[in-house]
Structure formats: structure tokens, C-alpha cells
Symmetry: C2
Subunit: 341 residues, 2 copies
DNA sequence: CTGAAAGCGCTTACAG
DNA sequence: CTGAAAGCGCTTACAG
């Protein structure tokens, strides 16, 4: 089955020169005469020579492989990020190894370990939502360049790429206020979720700035914010004495659950209750009414993350500074908040 | 930055034994005494020894990396497949390198090449829809185990994992006939699409079996079957003299486009026109009415594909037979065809 | 039960 | 301009 494979040595024998010369010729070493270089390259092409990347990587302590660890590959947002990481890495000559944690902390640790063992040149990582102990990450960071994106942690001193969640939420909530809403509920995750907390901060600031009192009954937290939870929490909200007049959900999925429940109870959207989601997923334009939501440019995140990482890989000296880069988001206004006033 | 890394040699020096012995101890070679083995393993643990996989792979001509090439990572169906591939590979001790072709034939060829160059142990591949020349694939197949899934080609003599598209379509169309539909339109891709053709065959067989004449006007083909195309083709259909009473789309996306257009023209679904999609995407339960569709178990495809590949990698002798494995699908009946009769 | 040595395919400092 | 040689970290056939 396996074909005879062309090596430097074989070509050297055929041309009756040394492997050193062949190697140098293929790498465009200036010392080698044009003639020899040409000769070697021609033969290489003829024999479909492919350098054995493992031998090369092994020799040079560089594999040109980047490890990517994400919680869940099924998320559209994450797929968007991955897509751009693949594209950019390709361009720069890197290959991507992907691992999924499914939010399992133990798996996350194992994967980090395996990545290092596979000799990746660097790691891009989005934390599992259950990660509290960052020691394994610090350990990895100590060995290879590592960048966190989307789900990050302030406890890890490395470059981090996130969206401007606080500001995004502020804008979304102000939009609701601008269309006349005053009792704005929020569906969020529990405190340990970094992203959720940022969004929550923006929510609070928007209310404060606009002199709207905070009503604890309108702040609902859950561990896993899903479609079903969106429905359940919404049922809870509309059974309140004083109903909300808007619902802001930190995910589109839960927002869609909210819309479904509002439909069920014949509550008019957006007149009685407006709904805003977060992430501009595909579903947000399929649901009726179309969902107002915050667009998070996954491609930008992926692009910046991988390019920073490659920079850190290729200039190991310089990356002492661990900056946090915030990517701008956009509020996309659709029918679920479209009120003519 | 980079920490001192523990190697066999270093441990050998510390224990004052040979690297051969250290290597064998770690690999549980039966020759080595229990005592030595224990001693070595303890030290290895203490120093966080991680074998250099590149040196190992390089030595053993095995990298434990599987290359996966897919057209588009954003597709939910493909993500489902990838998720299971990652999971199963992990269990079996393989790492996954992913590349995306975006249906670009030239990129597809390059990626195949790079995969080989990276020394993957085998390749899992779903063809781009524009692939006609399979020579690059035959070339790869000649070097390493390779399995095609979902988008396959009869021209490549290798194991192929597909869904039972013909049967699935047959069942879907019979379902439409059973609820009393007689003028069933189909939205499909042009002839070169293997999957689309299979589905079309099932459509034709269902009509024939039920003595329904084929009406060419109800058979619409397009190159890229998208939401927009779903809308456009549906507009076309409802402007026919004799309208269809059902639309069968080979993708959910186009089916959703169809539904949107039917809404626009106030056509009742399913009473006037029923709609069936294909793939049971997330959107299919978000759209109103919920879409009847064919569920393709991506996880099954991923699971079988990767396990067959690993089998072929590990028993290179046996895989002469290139079988085609069909995965059963399920028709999920929802509101878009729910008629009480 | 253990070790010395060769070798996987490549690169590169050194020598000429 | 070119070559001989060492070495990256590991495994394994051979020898004892």
C-alpha cells in the first residue's frame, strides 16, 4: 500500500551530491549555486518530494501546529470563530488541532496536556464554563504561548480576546429604554460566568444611567441558559404581579424560548413585551418576529486570536505584555423591538 | 519561557541506567524488572515527563493524527459529524486536524497534500460539491487509509459512509402522498451532486410506485440551494398555472425559504401546500409551522467513519474491500405536513 | 534483566 | 560553493 517515499537522501544519491546540499537547495540557501538548486528542485518536483514534517519539526522544535480547545463545537458562534482560525492559520502555514471539552474540567485539563505532548507551537483556548482552577492553564502557559478567547479568566496572565459585553449590553438595554420600556428583565447565567457578568454589568449601568430602579424580581439567573430555560424563566416572569415590558436574554436561544412562551400566552411582541437576544445566531432571523440581537463578530475574534498567537510563537521575546483586546459588537434591530414611537 | 523539558536521557542519567531501559520501563516492556519499572515511572511522574510525540511518531512512522477535510464547518450537520469524530478519536488516542475547503477544488487538493505532508495516519473526507477530478484523492488513497463520508464519489475505491438518501426521500414523498398530496414539487441541486441525485431517485420512485405522473415543471434544480433560492424557486412554483400541493426540499434551509414565501402569499401550510425539508437542522423547530424533515444522524456517521478509519490504520492488510455503509435516517413529522385525514 | 548502538529524516555549525 | 558529521528524542534488534 504505502508508496516508496522520496527523502533527501534518495535524491542526494540520484544526483550524486550530499544530502546537506539537497536540503539547502530546497530551502533556498544562498550558498548553493543556482544550477544545483535548479537541478534539485526539478528532481524534487518530479518525484513529488514532500519533506517529512515530523523530522523537520522534531529537528527544529517547531511543529507548525496550533492547538485549539473549545467548549462546544456545535455552537454557531464558536464555529464562526473556528472557521476564521482555520483560514488564517492556513495562510500562515499552520495546521489546527481541535479539541472539545464539553465543559468538562477534567477533559479540559487532559486536552491541554495532550496538546503540549503533541508539541503544538501554541494554544488558543476558550474556557469551559465550569473552570475555576486555572492551574493547568498556567502550567501550559509556562511552556507555550497561549491565548484565551471568548470565555476567558482574569486569573490567567495572557493575551485575551473578548467582546465588549458590558458596552453591548448597555446599548441593548438603552435601546429598550429608548422605545419606551421601563421594566426590563434579564435572563442570565450564574455569577461564575465571566461573560454573563459583563453583560449584567452593562444592564445595570444602563438602568442606572437612565434612572430606572433595579427590580430583583426581573433578574433571573440559571446555570445552563437554554431554549427550555428561556421558556421556563419567561413563564415565571409573566406570572409576576407586575409583568416586565421587555426581556433581555444573554443568548439568542433563550430569547427564542422566551418568544415561544410569549406566543403561547398571546402576549404581543414587541408592544407588550419586547425581546432582545445576544449573538445574532442563524435562528434569530427564522423566529417570528425576527429577533433583535447583539451581533458578535466571531470571525474577528478568530482572526485576531490566531494572528496574535502566531506573533507570539514567532517572536517569543516580545510577548511579555498580556493585553486584553475587546472586539466591538453591533446591535441589530429587528421586529422583536420594532416600535414606531 | 520554555521550561526545561524532561527527556529519557535526563531520567537515565538521574537513575544511572541506560535510556533503553528507561524507554522500555515506560512502555511496560516485559523484560524490565518490576523494581526498575517502578523506579522509572516514579521519576517520570515526579518530573512530569511527557514523551516527545514527534520523536516517537517520527521513529515509528505513526503520528496518531487523523486529518479531516470538510467543505464547510458552519454547517450544523457537519458540526455534528465532527463532534463525534473528535469524541471517538479522543477515546482511541488520536488527535484530529481539521481543514475546510469551502467547496474550492484547488484548496481541497492542497489540503490533501498538506495532510499527507504532516504525516497523518489517515484521512476522513467529505468532498467539495465542485469536485469532479478525483485524481488527487486517488493519489492520497494510495498513500494512506482514506474514508469518504456524506459527500462521496463512486469513482474512489474506498470505504464510504453515507445516508440512505434514496430511501429517505422515498419515505418522505410517500408520507406526502399518504396525506393526500398529488402534485409534489422538489427543490434539488444540479445533477453532479451525488446526494441530491440519490434523493431525486427516491422522489421519482415514490411517485412511480404510487402511479403519480411526473411533472417536469415541479422539478427545480439549482447550483447552490440556499434560503434565498428556496424563496425564489417557491415563488416560481406558486405562479404556475397548476400549483403544487407539496414541496419537498433537499435541505431544511431551502424548505424554510419556501415556508417564508408561502407565508408571504398567505398560502396555508400544510393544507394548501405542505413542506418537507431534509436534515433536521436546529432551525426546523424554530420556523412556524415546525418543519417535517429527514433526520440524518450526524453522530452515527462520524462515529462509524472514524472507527472504520482507525481499523484501517491499525490493520493495514485487511482493508482491501471498499464497502459503502448506509446510515438509516428518520422522517420526523411536524406541523408542516400535519393534516388530519 | 540491561546496555551500546544504530537509525528514523531532517538541519546546521564547522571545515574546506 | 559543497560535504562530513553531529544531533534532535525516541525505539529496538542485537548482544551479553
Amino acid at each position: 500500500m504505502k508508496k516508496e517515499v522520496t527523502t533527501l537522501k534518495k535524491m542526494a544519491q540520484l544526483l550524486d551530491i550530499s544530502t546537506s546540499t539537497v536540503s539547502r537547495a530546497l530551502n533556498n540557501h544562498p550558498d548553493i549555486s543556482e544550477e544545483t538548486t535548479k537541478k534539485v528542485k526539478n528532481l524534487a518536483k518530479k518525484l513529488h518530494y514532500m519533506p517529512n514534517i515530523f523530522a523537520k519539526g522534531f529537528r527544529q522544535h517547531k511543529t507548525n501546529i496550533i492547538g485549539v480547545i473549545v467548549p462546544n463545537i456545535l455552537s454557531y458562534f464558536i464555529s464562526t470563530i473556528l472557521k476564521e482560525i482555520l483560514l488564517q492559520a492556513e495562510i500562515k502555514g499552520y495546521r489546527i488541532i481541535i479539541s472539545e471539552t464539553n465543559n468538562d474540567v477534567k477533559k479540559e485539563k487532559e486536552m491541554l496536556h495532550t496538546m503540549l505532548q503533541f508539541g503544538v507551537d501554541g494554544i488558543l483556548m476558550s474556557l469551559s464554563k465550569n473552570t475555576v482552577d486555572v492551574d493547568p492553564i498556567l502550567y501550559a502557559l509556562n511552556q507555550k504561548p497561549l491565548i484565551l478567547f471568548d470565555k476567558v479568566s482574569a486569573k490567567v496572565p495572557c493575551t485575551q480576546i473578548i467582546i465588549n459585553g458590558e458596552e453591548a449590553a448597555f446599548n441593548a438595554v438603552e435601546h429598550l429604554i429608548n422605545i419606551g420600556k421601563k421594566r426590563i428583565a434579564i435572563l442570565k447565567e450564574f455569577e461564575q460566568s465571566y461573560n454573563s457578568e459583563k453583560i449584567f454589568q452593562g444592564y445595570l449601568r444602563a438602568l442606572k444611567t437612565n434612572n430606572i430602579a433595579i427590580d430583583e424580581k426581573l433578574i433571573l439567573s440559571t446555570h445552563d441558559i437554554s431554549l427550555k430555560k428561556g421558556r421556563r424563566l419567561t413563564s415565571q416572569l409573566i406570572s409576576l404581579q407586575e409583568k416586565p415590558d421587555a426581556i433581555f436574554s444573554i443568548t439568542d436561544t433563550a430569547a427564542i424560548g422566551a418568544i415561544q412562551t410569549l406566543h403561547k400566552f398571546n402576549i404581543k411582541i414587541p408592544e407588550e413585551i419586547a425581546v432582545v437576544g445576544f449573538s445574532n445566531s442563524l435562528n434569530s432571523t427564522i423566529i417570528q418576529p425576527k429577533l433583535t440581537t447583539v451581533d458578535q463578530p466571531g470571525n474577528r475574534i478568530g482572526e485576531i486570536a490566531v494572528n496574535y498567537l502566531i506573533k507570539e510563537i514567532e517572536n517569543p521575546k516580545e510577548y511579555l505584555a498580556s493585553k486584553t483586546i475587546e472586539i466591538k459588537t453591533n446591535l441589530i434591530i429587528r421586529e422583536s423591538t420594532l416600535i414606531s414611537i
